[in-house]
């Protein structure tokens, strides 16, 4: 199995551990990743309000580069916001001749041309569908039995494109978590919004969303995420959310491939575990005795 890899800006900085763990788990599963050469920002959620065409063109630039490497390739994207932007550009290139023409007019400025021939895949889609528990379970060398995991999907890997899971009641992480030997925390918050950039721009509103999710995760040993924005909102603001709630809401938050990597016996430095902002002492204690 081979994929073109689009890390996106967060994975080079605030979400470096997501990049490390994704590469390590894919390598251990025998999957070949080729990073798209000279990739640039997808525009995040900032480009679209400023210009819809700019947002599509920034993402299409990356698809054009991917097409140069493998015209029928699949682009693996771990960040949900990048995934959605690339997916929208792909949709416009494939299904709307007028948009395709305008986007390519814009890309002329950087000597590129995009047709939409590559497929855009979220990391969770690849882990759950292409690999699945049938490929991942045999790689588990250290059972995580005794841990309870709250799967947090967030929004943009599920909506508006329901590609690989139920966009309201997602379940695709459950067989993967069970394959590690861990139990799934039963909750209703897996697909509820984390507040996204409101946590930065309108904290009094955004933190309400964070607080509700952390509160619902009580009883689990950890939350797993598949998006740098969700991860940051859930792990960096726990002290403030606890003050708002008037109760302690600290909990370990890992990226899904970090959890899978632990079960596959990968070392914590290979998974960037020291880079996470919320890995609690009792969690470390628990995994060292597994």
């Amino acid at each position: 199995m081979s994929y073109l890899y689009y890390p996106g800006c967060s994975l080079t900085s605030s979400a470096r551990e997501y990049d490390l763990a994704t590469r390590a788990v894919m390598a251990a599963a025998g999957v070949n990743l080729t990073e798209i050469d000279d990739w640039t920002c997808c525009g995040a959620s900032a480009a679209a309000p400023i210009s819809h065409l700019l947002s599509l063109s920034l993402s299409a630039r990356n698809l054009a580069l991917a097409e140069q490497t493998a015209s029928d390739g699949q682009v693996l994207v771990p960040c949900s916001a990048c995934y959605l932007n690339l997916k929208k550009a792909h949709d416009a290139l494939r299904n709307d001749a007028e948009s395709r023409a305008t986007i390519n007019d814009a890309l002329e400025a950087v000597n590129l041309k995009a047709t939409g021939s590559v497929r855009v895949r979220h990391l969770l889609d690849v882990l759950a569908v292409d690999l699945g528990e049938r490929h991942l379970a045999p790689l588990v060398t250290r059972s995580l039995s005794g841990l309870t995991v709250a799967p947090y999907y967030g929004c943009q890997c599920l909506r508006p494109y329901p590609e690989f899971d139920d966009p309201e009641r997602p379940v695709s992480m459950e067989p993967l978590i069970e394959a590690t030997g861990a139990a799934v925390h039963p909750w209703e918050m897996g697909a509820r919004c984390c507040g996204a950039s409101l946590v930065s721009t309108q904290p009094e509103v955004g933190l309400e969303r964070v607080f509700a999710i952390l509160k619902a995760a009580k009883g689990a040993d950890l939350i797993v995420t598949v998006c740098p924005m969700c991860q940051m909102n859930l792990d960096a603001w726990q002290a403030r959310a606890s003050r708002m709630a008037g109760e302690k809401l600290s909990i370990t938050v890992l990226y899904l491939p970090q959890l899978l990597g632990l079960a596959m016996g990968l070392a914590s430095h290979e998974l960037g575990l020291d880079l996470n902002l919320a890995v609690l002492g009792d969690f470390r204690e628990k995994i060292t005795h597994l």
Partner: protein
């Protein structure tokens, strides 16, 4: 919720032309309120999404711009997914943010500067550099307290080497040419760029 009348017609002096593309996106709205019931941030909004779509259809630009509703959209796409008319509501919210930023609405200044400074960094380097972006944002905000809200997190991230300072770790591909071409295309009236519908 604001009991603002949603039945008043636009006054003659208010030009609501900039709302036209968004009116077209939501004109099939049946006012069922599924969007409001689905929105995680509806309780903090001054107008419910349903009421706001009604004002958009009526062309009440200033009433819409006075509202915080569209700024509080966190792009979760739940309303878009559930809308029984299949309307691209999240994209319509994004477009409203765009109008407010273009009008330099004073009450949305903080959000506008956050978005603008983000894109300025992308234009200069091709990728986001948190340090440069946040510095530009704080300078533009001209607020002595703004940096302090982010300082504890910033220091935590720097301590872990998770802030891209631009020391050559990441690529540097200026995108000025692409940004300018897009702006040119948008100035050309012939380029009637159609908004994406959903699905």
């Amino acid at each position: 919720m604001n009991p603002q009348s949603v039945t008043t017609l636009p006054t003659a002096e208010e030009s609501s032309e900039s709302l036209d593309p968004i009116r077209a996106m939501v004109s099939a709205c049946i006012q069922c309120g599924t969007c409001t019931g689905s929105c995680p941030n509806a309780l903090e909004m001054d107008l419910t999404p349903r009421k706001m779509w009604r004002l958009v259809i009526l062309g009440r630009l200033s009433a819409v711009m006075e509202s915080k509703t569209f700024i509080l959209c966190s792009d979760c796409y739940t309303c878009t997914l559930r809308c029984p008319r299949g309307l691209p509501l999240t994209e319509a919210m994004e477009a409203l943010k765009g109008i407010a930023f273009a009008r330099k609405e004073a009450r949305h200044r903080g959000s506008r500067l956050f978005y603008e400074k983000f894109m300025e960094t992308v234009r200069r380097h091709g990728r986001i550099r948190e340090m440069e972006f946040m510095t530009r944002y704080f300078i533009a905000m001209k607020s002595p307290v703004a940096p302090f809200r982010f300082a504890p997190l910033g220091l935590k991230l720097m301590g872990k080497g998770k802030v891209e300072l631009g020391g050559g770790k990441s690529g540097d591909t200026p995108l000025g040419a692409l940004f300018e071409k897009v702006a040119d295309l948008e100035r050309t009236p012939a380029a009637t760029f159609r908004k994406e519908g959903h699905q």
